[in-house]
């Protein structure tokens, strides 16, 4: 089961974080569907030429985030409940809204102005 993940040597972030992000991306994009089995820890370690302990850590952290579930003796699977896709999108939405609120304040918009602008944007998206 070829994973297609990639570890960059020049990326300053720790390897386990890179792995986690790439797995999250694939899940969020829908490439790795809910319920899909993840490569076994040793297989992925061999494929990426990264230590087993690093993969273990990535999987453990992903599990504690609820992104994947590990069934003892069976392997790790993409979590069914909540779809990570939804969770990530939620985070993104929160970020965007905060940014919008800050910009609105800079521009001096009133809360009603902001709400009107949001409604306009929502309608234009619906038309697409």
């Amino acid at each position: 089961m070829y994973s297609g993940l990639n570890i960059s040597q020049t990326d300053a972030r720790p390897m386990y974080l890179q792995i986690m992000e790439q797995i999250r991306q694939r899940i969020a994009a829908g490439d790795w569907a809910a319920g899909r089995e993840l490569p076994s820890i040793r297989v992925l370690a061999a494929e990426l030429r990264v230590s087993v302990i690093t993969i273990k850590r990535a999987y453990l952290d992903l599990e504690s985030e609820g992104v994947i579930v590990t069934r003892h003796g069976k392997g790790s699977f993409v979590a069914e409940v909540n779809g990570l896709a939804g969770e990530l999108q939620e985070e993104k939405l929160a970020e965007h809204l905060t940014a919008a609120a800050e910009l609105a304040r800079t521009l001096g918009l009133t809360p009603e102005d902001l709400a009107k602008r949001l409604e306009r944007a929502r309608r234009s998206v619906e038309k697409k």
Binding site: P14, M15, R42, A45, A46, R49, S51, V52, I53, T54
Partner: protein, 296 residues
């Protein structure tokens, strides 16, 4: 399957005329790769030779696959492969001769895998060993070791003198070995980048003594460089686990081996940046700290 450690050293001591290895305790469980790092002359080769039974400890215990060393090395070595960068094959024979020789000794020899490795490492069976470059020689030794599928691989500087392509190939083969969680690898190396990447566990050694030995991720999590900018007249509180301190005017760089968010809170607003450290930086800082503490 095998709960016992593959390699075990307990308070091992070995004295030479100008160097003593002392109080060395080391464990390698199955399914793990241990990277063994130390300055030149620290005792890496000595430790490896003790593990292989080539020299006997003055005190302490050495066990390889559960067998007491050096007494039972003939049995232990049936399942262990050893490659050292100062090891050479028989000069009068060819690479192919050696392959047949090893195949006839070890029942685990995988001829198909051997053939694959010959191609991958770009070796020629009919070539006499005399004519091999250092890198090719090491690759031949590694081929002979990998193709017999030993339970334990003990490697002393296996990638020294290898070009980046060969190193890449080799690391892939090592990680392939670890697909089987009943096998393990101990390798010593100066190449901290490789060690950082593929080791599960890392052991630092300096001047014949163990400096530190723990999971790689542990090392990477515990060590940080913290950059501070102090207000004029401000004094840093005395904090534990600060192993390095470099001051340049109002800028101070602290090195800690026990990072925690609590530490950052204690340092407060003076903190400008917190950086993780590469294994190489951790290694150097560890050794210097260890030497300071040892008083040498």
């Amino acid at each position: 399957m095998t709960p016992q450690n593959h390699i075990e050293l307990r308070s091992v001591r070995k004295a030479f005329r100008y160097f003593t290895l002392d109080d060395l305790t080391l464990d390698l469980p199955p399914g793990q790769i241990m990277g063994f790092v130390g300055p030149n002359g620290a005792g890496k080769s000595t430790t490896i030779r003790l593990a292989m039974g080539l020299i006997a400890p003055d005190a302490g215990e050495v066990r390889l696959l559960g067998h007491a060393m050096p007494e039972h090395q003939a049995i232990a070595k049936r399942d262990v492969a050893f490659v050292s960068d100062d090891m050479k094959l028989f000069p009068h024979a060819t690479v192919g001769w050696h392959m047949n020789f090893i195949a006839s000794i070890y029942p685990g020899w995988d001829a198909t895998y051997a053939a694959t490795l010959v191609k991958r490492f770009n070796l020629k069976p009919e070539q006499p060993v005399k004519g091999l470059s250092h890198g090719e020689h090491v690759k031949a030794l590694l081929l002979l070791s990998l193709a017999r599928r030993p339970r334990v691989l003990i490697l002393d500087e296996p990638t020294s003198g290898l070009d980046p392509v060969a190193r890449h190939e080799l690391l892939s083969e090592f990680m392939d070995v670890l697909r089987d969680d009943s096998r393990s690898i101990l390798f010593s190396s100066h190449n901290t980048v490789d060690v950082e990447r593929i080791s599960d566990r890392i052991t630092f050694i300096d001047r014949g003594r163990l400096v530190d030995s723990r999971d790689k991720e542990d090392f990477l999590e515990r060590w940080r460089r913290i950059q501070l900018q102090l207000e004029p007249g401000a004094v840093l509180p005395e904090l534990p686990n600060i192993v390095g301190r470099v001051a340049d005017g109002s800028f101070v760089t602290l090195t800690t081996n026990r990072f925690s968010t609590a530490l950052i809170e204690q340092l407060g607003s003076a903190v400008r940046e917190v950086h993780r450290m590469s294994l190489e930086e951790i290694f150097v800082a560890s050794v210097f700290h260890h030497r300071e503490v040892a008083g040498s």
